[in-house]
């Protein structure tokens, strides 16, 4: 039989003004299982808490019900008090008689009655309570950062600087990401590579960072603090330890005309290549699809010229297995290309390019050495039309959202063009100018006022080619939707930013949820922007939604702090409010039938399959098992389970059923 103490709080007059607290305490003392019942002015005060602690010892209580304010306010206070008096904290309950009773009702018999009903219900719950122990999980203090763009670089450096080991995985041959491709950055117009490359070098040289480029995450198992990750290190076709990065092979490779991914197909590269001169690591990779040797079996010029004999044609992919405590996803974004737009020629007009291509044209290290030359004939365009929101904010294209970065980079593009081609005309079609950010609006103003970029508010309905010109047909909505036609030499589409290729796959591997656009989903849009719903996996940069460099870097540092906090202790302590599959007496006797319909219900992928085997290794039963490291205690699986084989600690079937019965009991005893 339980021995429960009831403590009714006056909360000054907050409760006692409308509730007859003495009567509640007196009636409560008559409830079955209640051995002690008092009222007091301020239960949460030190003397009030002492009252509880002493009663626990004096009456040898097995449960405590404090009738006072909302548990959201003082539940931790009284749990702590119980613990100090030697009572398991999860044996205490709060009856909310302030927010849910005294404050919302007038003084009356019914109000006192309700307060008592609430107390009685919580006494019922308390008598069904069981002692719970906080869950402790060990933590492997090594982080994995996926993606080596500016966000991944920042996150890796920040974590590494807290003294923890970091593995940085990047799928392309060099880190740097999109930022390495940019010409200059808004709103300061400083050179993108100049500010990024020192960071890239720092990553390569940091003693706490292990860098795997040309590598991808193969699989992820486990849970917060205890991930088991397999990384596929794709064959570079060379011995990285021997290679000095002299680059002789890349100059001698007979294949020279392969469109370069880094140059957004505007430039070329050999088959053995580093994506760009400042690549980190500065070790080339052989593109086997385009290499003469892999295609014909002959050539091997690179092997011949290599002074350190580092080329390995027979190299194979290797799988590395690592134990990881926390993961930061920083896989960035892609942009749509001009072939996404049938109305703008579906990619058939060479001089209709996307923003990233323009970055390469404007970049001093780009295919045109920073001269703005159009791709079709290398002429310097005298008139460029920039189209903002190409694809973005367009439900018909399936992209309802604003890509956020395009307003700014379009202004930058127009400005760069005007700086480089003084007699050129730059026209921008826009829907709205969204320049929220430090010095952003001023930057756009500068483009309009100082650099005379023509801004036209309206959409472009179609582009077609006529006599070597691109006819851009649009509307000017500020002039009564008057139609506008511009004969342009080149068109730059500020195409929508989208989730990077393969992000859906990666999300599924990581068990991270993602939105309809395949961007990774944060745990809470306001308060948990860098967490995911999967414990121990965090987000940085544009993989969550398109964002600019300052935001990406800030987010990366935020994610790094979350990782550092996780690594700050050896054990992870969690509230024991988790679901459990019954397995008493012994798992083979569990009532779980292993239908696993609970699996898709769990938002945290916490439900695993457990196979019970006989001595010969044959599976005799499969049942669900809840991973307590992952379970967050929502209890949706509990309500779904038909055989009532799952229960939620702290909110068990017995407790909830008891509460329902108790709450409806007849009036005062």
């Amino acid at each position: 039989m339980s021995r429960i103490g009831v403590f009714v709080c006056h909360c000054g007059e907050n409760i006692s003004a409308t509730v007859d607290v003495a009567k509640v305490a007196e009636e409560a003392s008559k409830l079955p299982g209640v051995v002690h019942s008092v009222d007091y002015k301020y239960m949460c005060s030190d003397p009030g808490q002492t009252l509880v602690k002493e009663a626990i010892k004096e009456h040898n209580l097995t449960g405590v019900v404090v009738a006072a304010c909302s548990p959201r306010m003082h539940e931790p206070t009284f749990r702590k008090a119980c613990a100090q008096a030697g009572l398991n904290p999860y044996l205490s309950e709060m009856a909310n008689v302030r927010e849910h009773c005294s404050w919302v009702h007038e003084k009356s018999e019914q109000t006192t009655q309700k307060a008592f009903d609430v107390v009685r219900t919580m006494v019922s719950k308390a008598s069904n309570n069981a002692a719970l122990e906080p869950i402790k999980v060990p933590v492997t203090k090594r982080a994995l950062v996926v993606g080596g763009g500016v966000a991944g670089i920042q996150a890796a450096l920040d974590i590494a600087n807290t003294g923890h080991k970091v593995i940085l995985v990047e799928r392309s041959p060099s880190i740097g990401g999109h930022m390495a491709q940019l010409s200059e950055t808004f709103p300061t117009l400083d050179c993108s590579q100049c500010i990024l490359t020192p960071r890239m070098v720092e990553v390569a040289q940091h003693p706490n960072i292990t860098l795997y480029t040309h590598s991808e995450v193969e699989s992820v198992d486990g849970f917060i603090g205890n991930f088991h990750v397999k990384i596929r290190k794709k064959a570079r076709s060379l011995d990285e330890d021997l290679c000095t990065g002299c680059g002789l092979c890349t100059t001698k490779c007979p294949q020279k005309k392969i469109p370069s991914e880094f140059e957004q197909l505007l430039g070329t590269r050999p088959a053995i290549y580093t994506p760009f001169p400042q690549a980190v690591p500065n070790k080339p990779v052989i593109d086997r699809d385009n290499c003469t040797f892999y295609k014909t079996g002959k050539c091997k010029i690179c092997e011949i010229v290599c002074p350190t004999k580092a080329i390995r044609f027979d190299q194979e992919d290797t799988i590395l297995e690592v134990e990881i405590g926390a993961i930061v996803l920083a896989t960035g974004f892609d942009v749509k290309h001009s072939d996404f737009f049938p109305e703008y020629g579906k990619g058939k007009y060479k001089d209709v390019i996307d923003g990233l291509q323009f970055e390469r044209l404007a970049s001093a290290s780009g295919p045109t050495q920073g001269m703005i030359r159009r791709p079709s004939d290398g002429q310097i365009p005298k008139k460029i039309v920039f189209i903002a929101c190409a694809g973005s904010r367009d439900p018909a294209k399936g992209i309802e959202y604003c890509s956020k970065i395009c307003c700014m980079y379009t202004a930058k593009h127009a400005m760069l063009y005007k700086h480089k081609v003084h007699d050129g005309e730059a026209h921008v079609f826009y829907m709205d100018i969204r320049a929220g950010g430090k010095m952003y609006e001023e930057f756009v103003r500068r483009a309009i006022v100082e650099d005379h970029v023509n801004y036209t508010r309206g959409r472009v309905s179609t582009i077609y080619e006529l006599d070597g010109k691109l006819i851009v047909k649009g509307a000017d909505t500020l002039l009564g939707a008057q139609s506008v036609e511009i004969e342009a030499d080149m068109v730059v589409l500020a195409t929508a930013g989208v989730a990077s290729e393969g992000s859906e796959d990666l999300a599924q591997k990581m068990h991270v949820s993602y939105d309809q656009h395949k961007f990774f989903a944060e745990a809470h849009p306001k308060l948990k922007p860098v967490e995911t719903n999967t414990g121990g996996i965090f987000l940085a940069g544009a993989c969550q939604t398109t964002r600019d460099i300052p935001d990406s870097v800030a987010m990366a540092s935020g994610a790094a702090v979350k990782v550092a906090a996780l690594f700050s202790s050896d054990l992870l302590t969690r509230e024991p409010i988790v679901a459990r599959v019954n397995r008493i007496p012994g798992p083979s006797h569990s009532t779980c039938v292993g239908c696993f319909l609970c699996q898709p219900v769990c938002p945290y992928q916490a439900i695993e399959r457990e196979d019970i085997k006989d001595r010969a290794g044959n599976i005799i039963k499969s049942l669900a098992r809840i991973n307590e490291g992952l379970c967050q205690g929502c209890g949706t699986c509990v309500a779904l389970c038909r055989s009532k084989s799952i229960d939620l600690l702290g909110y068990t079937d017995n407790q909830m059923h008891g509460e329902v019965l108790s709450v409806l009991e007849e009036a005062f005893v």
């Binding site: 049938p342 023509n454 077609y464 080619e465 006529l466 139609s483 506008v484 036609e485």
Partner: protein, 302 residues
């Protein structure tokens, strides 16, 4: 092969040539076309500007008639009728309450199960597969395929072709041995319903279409809509007035182009009914516009 056909008013009047050519190629490809019994007007533009229920009831009755007659697939050559019937079926299938209401109005059971085809879909399904063996002379012309608005829009409802750059007719022309040019006015508006009330607007809108097709060296404009045809063909005087030059590029239906390739004689295809004479055989392309002096553009060019 038997298909239902809903001709609508145009095909029995101003677009008799279209009707004749549809039937002519159907016959040549062993497609039996059976008219939806006791059909009525689709309501066209007039109805949906006036009264929503009326604009849905008229097409719903046609579809209900088709269902009653057991016509599971019907072809609708007129793009306006096609649009109205598609829109109606879409709206009613997505709103059971409205569906019941309209069924009450037309006093017929409307299921919304008919498979509605536009003329190019019919060609794709039943003509193109047999075309190769039936072509007697290649339609080796350079043409501009003009789709207008109603065949491809609204995409949400029609789900047909790529609405910004449709290829349906272009593909048919290529099959016939012709060349479909890339041009800028494939899906622009011809002025459509304004043909009676605001002829000068039709002159301007259709004029831009005709001009672009002509200066890119097209020998004909190929259409699949009676409205487009009458605006580009019958309204040629207004177009010429707008352009300030006499344009003699003919406008033919896609079905007529097929008919010509199949060796069907011009009269059977109704080619003699056109306002702008069609002489595909001896057609000489005009000098490209760019080499001449440029005509004045009233649009705001900056």
């Amino acid at each position: 092969m038997k298909l239902g056909i809903y001709p609508g008013c145009s095909l029995t009047g101003s677009a008799r040539d279209y009707n004749e050519s549809v039937f002519a190629i159907a016959k040549a490809c062993d497609i039996q076309l059976e008219q939806v019994p006791d059909w009525n007007c689709c309501g066209a533009t007039a109805a949906h500007n006036m009264n929503k229920e009326l604009s849905l009831s008229l097409p719903a009755r046609i579809l209900a008639q088709a269902e009653k007659a057991g016509l599971t697939d019907i072809v609708i050559p007129c793009a306006a009728c096609y649009s109205r019937l598609m829109v109606t079926q879409h709206e009613l299938n997505n709103d059971p309450v409205l569906k019941n209401r309209i069924s009450e109005i037309i006093e017929m059971d409307f299921k919304g199960t008919t498979n509605i085809l536009n003329v190019v879909q019919m060609i794709d399904l039943y003509v193109s597969p047999v075309l190769k063996e039936k072509i007697v002379k290649n339609f080796s012309h350079k043409v501009a395929c003009y789709y207008g608005c109603l065949m491809v829009r609204p995409y949400k409802v029609l789900q047909y072709d790529q609405h910004e750059d449709p290829q349906g007719m272009d593909n048919v022309i290529r099959l016939l041995g012709g060349t479909a040019i890339d041009w800028g006015y494939k899906v622009e508006c011809c002025g459509a319903g304004l043909t009676m009330s605001k002829t000068e607007i039709v002159g301007m809108l259709s004029g831009k279409i005709v001009k672009d097709a002509a200066r890119r060296g097209a020998q004909a404009i190929v259409v699949a809509c009676p409205m487009c045809h009458s605006n580009l063909d019958m309204r040629r005087p207004a177009i010429n007035e707008y352009i300030g030059e006499k344009m003699d590029i003919p406008v033919i239906y896609i079905t007529q182009a097929i008919g010509l390739a199949l060796g069907i004689d011009e009269k059977t295809l109704g080619l003699q009914r056109h306002f702008v004479p069609v002489k595909m055989a001896e057609y000489i392309p005009p000098v490209p516009e760019s080499k001449k002096q440029k005509a004045k553009e009233p649009t705001n060019t900056i």
